[in-house]
């Protein structure tokens, strides 16, 4: 059955059952992937799937059921399950569908650029692999080169009159490889999103990945202790992604953020401005509305070190007497979704930060990040890769490290902010960041 026809039937069936408030979230996903290895296209993959979430509001709660198989026979099950889920919950705070008539902002997204359409993708990956082997004989193995591209379309329609839809296209490519010298094996990866000319240059991408891995060779050990830390921009963006939930009102109510009573208080170094900006031109998470259909707006979370707001969905905003920020997930989810979440640029170059730090550790990568963070306390202890900073310059690679601290203290301890903001595909972004000494252990 065609999706539109199914949605119409589900809509009518819901109305026929006198369901007061309901919502249909529909999405369609197409993806095409290639993987190259050993001079061949090892894997070609594609898909075409659709997904529907049906939600019902009963009393104060919203219950939902998710389904991929859009066949008429499933309609009774979908309605029954959503209703049963809604009636079962007994939360006291009210949940909402969004139905106000609002203007939606125009957002600019142009990724990938048009050159991508004419790119010979298979040849590109083979060239990328070859370029890595050619670049340095210490390349042990190009583990894979990959390219993924896709199209995603979503629509929200509800009984309050909301009827919005949008679509995005996206593309990623990259290389993952290992290098070996004196029995030491190190790995590195590099990715591109085909939004600038250099992303189409296999030699350039391969060279970056190989150089990244080579720098990790011949690592040395250092004694465990406290060291001044400079985080590479990409690495601090990763850290933001791992710990960003402290800025979510939904986490705060779950006792996984301690910022609930810190509004208008200083929680970070003076120079910090942190935003969640879904309107950013060409951001990876740029969007005209959130998962609840609420119009997007730029939210300044921290300004000059002072906490301005947490991020809310319709439910948390109502519960805590705040204005919605357009960070809902939808489908009856209680959580908050981030968009382009980043620290605004400061005015120092990376080199100036290294010079001012003089001696310390330059952290380039956090590893094993699926564990090591206690959201309840804010304590973290992550595996890491990094380099010694000696006399203001990046020096030897270091053996595997752990870096430990507390996220709330870290925001206060930021000392220097770079002017090299880097946004990552997960939506998080940061410039180079220098912080006061942190606890480091080295294998």
């Amino acid at each position: 059955m065609q999706a539109q026809e199914f949605i119409e039937k589900l809509y009518q069936a819901s109305q026929a059952q006198d369901i007061n408030q309901f919502q249909i979230d529909y999405s369609q996903n197409e993806k095409f992937s290639l993987k190259a290895m050993d001079g061949k296209i090892e894997k070609r993959s594609f898909n075409n799937t659709q997904h529907l979430d049906f939600s019902i509001k009963e009393g104060k709660n919203i219950g939902s059921f998710s389904c991929g198989e859009l066949e008429e026979k499933n309609i009774p099950l979908i309605i029954k399950e959503a209703k049963e889920n809604a009636l079962l919950m007994n939360n006291e705070e009210e949940n909402f569908f969004f139905g106000e008539k609002r203007e939606y902002p125009l957002v600019k997204r142009s990724r990938p650029i048009k050159e991508f359409e004419t790119l010979d993708k298979e040849q590109f990956l083979l060239d990328l692999e070859k370029a890595a082997y050619t670049h340095d004989k210490r390349v042990k193995k190009v583990i894979f080169c990959f390219m993924d591209e896709g199209k995603y379309q979503s629509a929200i329609r509800n009984s309050l009159g909301l009827d919005v839809n949008e679509g995005i296209t996206w593309a990623y490519g990259g290389i993952y490889l290992s290098v070996e010298e004196n029995g030491i094996i190190k790995t590195a990866s590099e990715f591109v999103t085909f939004d600038k000319e250099e992303d189409f240059n296999p030699e350039f991408i391969a060279q970056k990945a190989v150089e990244k891995a080579l720098k990790k060779l011949n690592p040395i050990a250092i004694p465990s202790g406290k060291y001044k830390i400079v985080f590479e921009n990409e690495c601090f963006a990763d850290f933001l992604n791992l710990t960003k939930s402290i800025f979510s009102a939904a986490s705060m109510e779950e006792k996984y953020s301690k910022l609930g009573d810190k509004l208008k208080q200083k929680i970070a170094a003076d120079s910090i401005t942190l935003v969640d900006n879904p309107l950013l031109d060409n951001g990876y998470r740029t969007r005209p509305f959130d998962g609840e259909g609420y119009p997007s707006q730029n939210n300044v979370i921290i300004q000059n070190g002072v906490l301005q707001t947490l991020l809310h969905n319709l439910r948390t905003a109502h519960k805590f007497g705040a204005t919605p920020t357009g960070n809902g997930i939808g489908n009856g989810s209680r959580g908050v979704s981030f968009s382009n979440f980043y620290i605004e640029n400061g005015n120092l170059s990376k080199d100036e930060i290294l010079q001012q730090t003089k001696d310390g550790i330059y952290i380039t990568n956090l590893i094993g990040t699926n564990a090591g963070y206690s959201a309840a306390s804010g304590d973290f202890s992550y595996g890491a890769e990094g380099f010694l900073i000696k006399n203001g310059k990046i020096d030897n690679a270091l053996n595997p490290l752990t870096i430990s601290g507390n996220v709330y203290e870290l925001w206060q301890d930021i000392e220097l902010i770079g002017n090299d903001l880097k946004l990552m595909p997960n939506g998080c972004g940061s410039p180079t960041i220098a912080v006061k000494p942190m606890q480091i252990s080295c294998n």
């Binding site: 594609f46 799937t49 939360n91 202790g225 009856g332 090591g372 306390s377 252990s441």
Partner: protein, 460 residues
Amino acid sequence: MLDKNLVAEILNEALSTGGDYAEIFVENTLTNNLHTSERKIKSSTSGLSYGAGIRIFDGVNFVYAYTNLMDRENLLKTAKKAALGIKSSKKDISFDLRDLELERKHQIQKPFENKSKKEKADLMLKISEYALNASPLVCKADAKYKETTRHTLLANSLGVWAEDSIARSLMHLNTISEKDNITEAARKNFGGLYGLELFEGRNLQEFAEDVAADSVSRLSANLCPSGRMDVVIGNDFGGVIFHEACGHSLEATYVAKDASVMCGKLGQQIASPLVTAYDDATIDHAWGSINVDDEGVKTQRKILIENGILKNYMVDRLNGRRMGMEPNGCSRRQNYTFAPTSRMSNTFIANGKSTHDEIIANTEKGIYAEKMGGGSANPMNGEFNFSVDKAYLIENGKITKQVKGAKLIGSGQEVLQNIDMVANNMTLSCSICGSTSGRIPASHGQPTIRVRNITVGGQK
């Protein structure tokens, strides 16, 4: 789920451009989730996932296509489109789809529908209540329950027709304790291939109080010291280190691509002679068990390491071709949206001859990592790092102060060689393992073991 004639037609369409093997995987999974917190039924969600994945091989290259538009026309169209990715000369392949006989070991006793969602939610509320009543410092208890029923069909051009149905349930409790502005959390779960009998014969109060006690005791724990020291790793989820730092390196996914430190090491001494380890997908009702793998091969109990010697890899059909080895029933995927590959099921270090108490008594100074958190390892070089959820100092053969924030770092090869005591108290835990073919249920296990000289990353 699909008609045999249609499946044969799909497979033939998939082979039309010269593929030498084709398969279709069809999955229909019903999921229910419940979450109670703050004495409320906070969330109840459910969903139905139904779709199919088609895979075609041409030597060691392959095409994977999936869809959830399950009508005949679209399935044939998907097979045809997938076949366009193969550019070879058509092979003369004929097959007759025959039912694969399976020993269906994990039949459940009490179907999920025997109780209403409300009755299950009330049980969650009761379990949370036990935790909240355990100590005035416990300020939050979140109970989560998940049940899934997964029906699968795998049919391929070797003539395999394998249908299976697995019910799986998991109960998870998370508590938070608070004192003097310090907040600490703890968690624990139990689960397996069970229906509602999952909850029977268990002391749920003891389970909840145990989790509560863990979050309370962390409040007064000191920061863990850093440096190299002997580490005694507790049983059960302690096996996560073996899973991550050795198990993944034994998956053909990495070995076949020369991307594992374990390449070419079959028959070699890779661990201390005290170490014998298995991957066993056949354990009755265990969390990671399956009857047949996701490419139609019956599962088995595989010895990975015997007295320190590497005996077997986990081999899937495609990587088996690269390695010249037969698949051994370990190919898995999260759902139809992933192509399958070699993965672990229930992976554990087998019992040794020491006792837990002997190991502690014989350790002069070190850390006792009673409960591990998660972590990760790089199969390419074996480097790993893990956090420890609950740890103590060992001083003069005795467990003394509790410490927090401990992290273990090192390389898998080194740790395996440095295991010098293995106890006899092996148990399995429930976990979710994320890798190339998605997130799958997997058990880790081990008895208490001692590892000499690991780097402990602490916060002081």
